[in-house]
């Protein structure tokens, strides 16, 4: 019995398996692909698809960088480096010195042309509309979120490329050998901005009106997008007139000056809707009595109580979505990851542009009227009496982070003016008259050419995560990147109001932002000038990915980065002037005075120093205002016109 049991069973099984129809046998649903009708039947699945689309949003400055640049297949750009450049910082990493050694930005710098992303967004919308098993509320919200993301990406494109083909449906190829139906010309630059504004208007009331939702699109995010986009369009229309060469006859680049007022009005209205609370309870972040700590906390406070942030790219430690910004930029001497630190060093150019508390501009006082050094008891004293945002944005010599003090000093200055220093803090030297070797340079730098330590005399503080372990490579930091925040909305409103001839309104909004920074003397409406607006955005929004686009839309990038050497006289003069040259990042190096018996012994002096690695100077050419479209794309679509001045 046993002998025949097994073969019988087997043959039965085989026979019955073979009875299946061929069509049934081959036609099995795939197990590794979720078909779109299934995917769009469950809100959780739709959200996961949308999560991918959110992840692919393009930020100019991005804490986690670009792991895989979709455009050139580049293996990646570290997050910290997307915050560097433009004279605002020095990159203290040997592989990144090119940032301060190059003379030109290539014409294709900053370009983007990710129509695969646009297609995925369009497909998502098509499938979402066709879904039958989702509730109407879910369907509408998902659809509105995708529209928001599409408008955001068109905004990212128009900022870089000007007018681009406006593709609003998923295109299909018919495989007949003729692709001309898939080739679209560039839309006008103004048409793209109009599209962004109308999309934001269309989705703002579909999206939730909830200030505690930060990482998904909300009414506040849509309005903030609208305000910023309209402001950009308005300033391109107004200031584009000063650079008539930067335009194309078809309007793909350049917006007629007559439209400026309309755009500024749109920007002001959209910003005021947020300010007036129509999008939820947003407000300036004011929780800590220490205004610098308060300012730094805007960027690290992830709680729902952070009323400042409107729309963020969120991260989560221990869940796979983290970034290395803190690892890359923490102070060297107490780095969580020995040797991995200190890359992004704010420049003196930026530091000195933070105002005094009486609303005046002044260089950092290193010397008195006679050119003699000023002696300070404490390295922080030299920065006293300034805008609180300075210490909130920049880690100054002698300041603290994670309860430890940064050790930034370049050496001992002896009585005869000579310097005793070393190329490494570990190398001890005996001072004249001393008995034992001592440390003669700060553990956190600055030493020329010594990477991962500051070479400008400053570390960055904005975005730096105070959480224990956030500097470790393995854990990483989950501080979010704030794409839109209330402070910027106020500044957008102020700028739009100023351009519309309402300086009183502009002063009101600007003074709110300034009061939060300790600048309690309000600016009068007569004091609101173009230079003031430019300056306020530079200091409030430093290291938030605005500087390039701001300088571009005001058409002053060619003045600020004019390809001339930046002398010390350039550095110290014209602070607060919009067109001030900013081509090379200067540093401020502290020295300890060694002069036993003299009252100045042990005090601090400071010297403006150009880091030795800075051999280039930034030159922004007219052709840089709009990034080049690459030759492959131009060759594939003859309807595209090239950018001006390239």
């Amino acid at each position: 019995m046993k002998k025949i049991f097994l073969p019988t069973i087997l043959s039965f099984l085989l026979a019955f398996a073979g009875c299946k129809k061929d069509s049934d046998f081959l036609n099995i649903p795939p197990i590794q692909v979720v078909p779109s009708d299934v995917a769009f039947s469950d809100p959780a699945l739709v959200l996961s698809i949308l999560g991918d689309l959110y992840n692919r949003e393009l930020d100019f400055s991005s804490l986690d960088g670009y792991l895989q640049d979709p455009n050139d297949g580049n293996s990646g750009i570290a997050g910290w480096r997307t915050f560097a450049d433009f004279g605002e910082s020095f990159p203290s990493e040997s592989g990144s010195y090119f940032i301060v050694q190059n003379r030109n930005w290539a014409y294709n710098s900053w370009w983007t042309w990710d129509y695969a992303y646009i297609r995925d967004l369009n497909l998502f919308m098509q499938r979402d509309s066709a879904a039958t098993k989702l509730t109407a509320g879910d369907k509408a919200r998902f659809f509105a979120e995708a529209r928001f993301l599409r408008a955001s990406y068109y905004f990212a494109m128009v900022k870089r490329m000007g007018g681009v083909p406006l593709i609003l449906t998923p295109l299909e190829y018919d495989y007949k050998g003729n692709v001309s139906s898939l080739q679209f010309p560039r839309a006008k630059e103004s048409e793209i901005y109009d599209f962004i504004i109308s999309e934001a208007e269309a989705v703002k009331d579909v999206l939730p009106k909830d200030a505690t939702i930060k990482s998904r699109a909300t009414k506040g995010a849509a309005l903030a997008l609208e305000a910023r986009a309209a402001l950009y369009a308005g300033s391109i229309a107004k200031y584009g007139a000063t650079t008539p060469q930067v335009s194309l006859p078809g309007g793909e680049v350049g917006i007629p000056a007559a439209r400026a007022t309309g755009y500024y009005t749109t920007a002001l209205n959209a910003a005021q809707q947020i300010i007036n609370g129509e999008a939820g309870a947003y407000a300036l972040y004011r929780f800590s009595p220490d205004l610098s700590d308060n300012f730094a906390a805007i960027f690290t406070d992830k709680s729902g109580g952070n009323t400042e942030s409107i729309y963020i790219e969120d991260f989560k430690a221990g869940a796979g979505k983290v970034h290395g910004f803190t690892t890359n930029d923490q102070p060297y001497s107490f780095s969580d990851e020995g040797g991995d630190a200190g890359r992004l060093n704010p420049s003196l150019n930026l530091v000195e542009s933070f105002e005094m508390l009486d609303n005046t501009y002044a260089p950092i006082p290193t010397t008195d009227g006679g050119g003699n050094p000023i002696y300070y008891n404490n390295p922080l004293d030299i920065f006293a009496g300034r805008d609180a945002r300075l210490a909130g944005t920049v880690m100054l010599p002698g300041s603290r982070f994670k309860a430890q003090q940064v050790d930034i000093w370049a050496g001992y200055q002896l009585a005869d003016g000579s310097i005793v220093t070393s190329d490494e803090a570990g190398n001890l030297k005996t001072l004249p008259g001393g008995s034992a070797p001592v440390q003669v340079v700060g553990k956190d730098g600055p030493v020329n050419g010594l990477e991962y330590r500051t070479q400008s005399g400053f570390y960055v503080r904005k975005w730096l995560d105070p959480t224990v372990g956030s500097g470790r490579r393995g854990r990483g930091s989950d501080v979010p990147f704030i794409r839109y925040r209330f402070g910027e909305v106020l500044l957008n409103a102020a700028e739009a109001a100023f351009e519309l001839g309402q300086p009183d309104v502009a002063a009101g909004y600007m003074n709110q932002v300034r009061a939060r920074a300790g600048l309690t003397v309000p600016l009068t409406q007569a004091q609101i000038t173009f230079d003031r607006i430019v300056h306020e955005r530079r200091v409030e929004l430093a290291f938030e990915g605005h500087i390039l686009f701001d300088m571009k839309r005001w058409r002053i990038a060619t003045n600020v980065w004019d390809g001339q050497v930046m002398t010390k006289a350039d550095l110290l003069s014209n602070i607060g002037v919009a067109k001030k040259r900013n081509t090379q990042p200067w540093g401020l190096w502290p020295y300890k005075v060694y002069d036993p018996g003299h009252p100045n012994d042990g005090k601090w002096i400071f010297k403006e120093t150009l880091p030795a690695a800075v051999t280039g100077f930034d030159l922004f050419r007219l052709g840089n205002y709009y990034s080049a479209i690459n030759d492959n794309i131009l060759a594939a679509n003859p309807k595209l016109v090239k950018q001006p001045n390239q």
Binding site: R103, N104, P244, Q245, L248, P249, G563, Q564, V565, F617, L619, R621, L622, G623, D631, N632, L634, A635, P638, V641, K642, P644, N645, Q646
Partner: protein
């Protein structure tokens, strides 16, 4: 396994014999060269700043062979034999380049059968004439005349004139000292004089390279005189 000299020898022989293989194509051998000229006189420009583009006909994809003019206005490109067009992108150069339509630059047809010299005749907005650059007592002085060439509706003003000096032969943005004179401050365009003090150079040298540049308002590229070596 220890790397022994026999292994190294083996690798060298392998690599060497691989490189014996013939290339599929002969390298381009026809030299196209020339200079930017106005009535036979070279136009000096900033190094690496004034681009030109050469397109070859007859291939699938349209992409330019890009190059830039040298500081004395010369250019060169090694090409295959064939037909090409040469153009300067719109808005580049301190001169007017003819446009077929706004933003569409005209081009020069070139047939390469061997090396050839092709001077590019353009009309600059200005020419710097009779420039004499001299040095002495730690200073460099330049005297020159700015001649306005384009005087019709396309005429443009002088934004500034600059005297650049550098320790090396590339002079312009690369400089150790520069002195500027704004266009509005020029009293007599026929007789402009600029003087710049030579800063200390390490290692010390008894000469500098100098030239004069002229920036035209609303035009990106400057026009320059030839580089001169000046004792000071």
């Amino acid at each position: 396994m220890k790397i022994k000299s026999v292994h190294i020898l083996f690798m060298v022989v392998t690599f060497a014999s691989y490189s014996c293989k013939k290339d599929n194509y002969k390298e381009p051998a026809a030299q196209l060269s020339g200079a930017l000229q106005y009535k036979g006189e070279n136009i000096g420009v900033e190094r690496n700043q004034v681009p030109f583009q050469i397109y070859q006909y007859g291939f699938g994809k349209v992409g330019a062979i890009n190059g830039t003019f040298e500081q004395d206005g010369t250019y060169g490109s090694l090409l295959f034999s064939g037909s090409y067009k040469f153009l300067i992108p719109s808005g580049q150069g301190p001169f007017i380049w003819k446009e077929l339509a706004p933003g569409v630059p005209d081009s020069i047809a070139i047939t390469m059968t061997g090396s050839q010299t092709l001077n590019i005749e353009v009309t600059p907005y200005y020419m710097i004439r009779n420039a004499t650059i001299s040095g002495g007592s730690g200073k460099v002085t330049a005297v020159f005349k700015a001649e306005k060439i384009i005087t019709d509706a396309n005429a443009k003003d002088i934004e500034r004139v600059s005297l650049y000096i550098n320790a090396g032969q590339f002079v312009g943005q690369d400089n150790i000292a520069v002195v500027n004179l704004a266009g509005a401050d020029i009293t007599d365009p026929n007789n402009i004089s600029l003087q710049v003090a030579v800063p200390s150079i390490t290692p010390a040298q008894s000469f500098v390279y100098a030239r004069v540049g002229l920036k035209i308002a609303n035009v990106e590229d400057m026009i320059f005189t030839p580089v001169q070596k000046v004792q000071y």
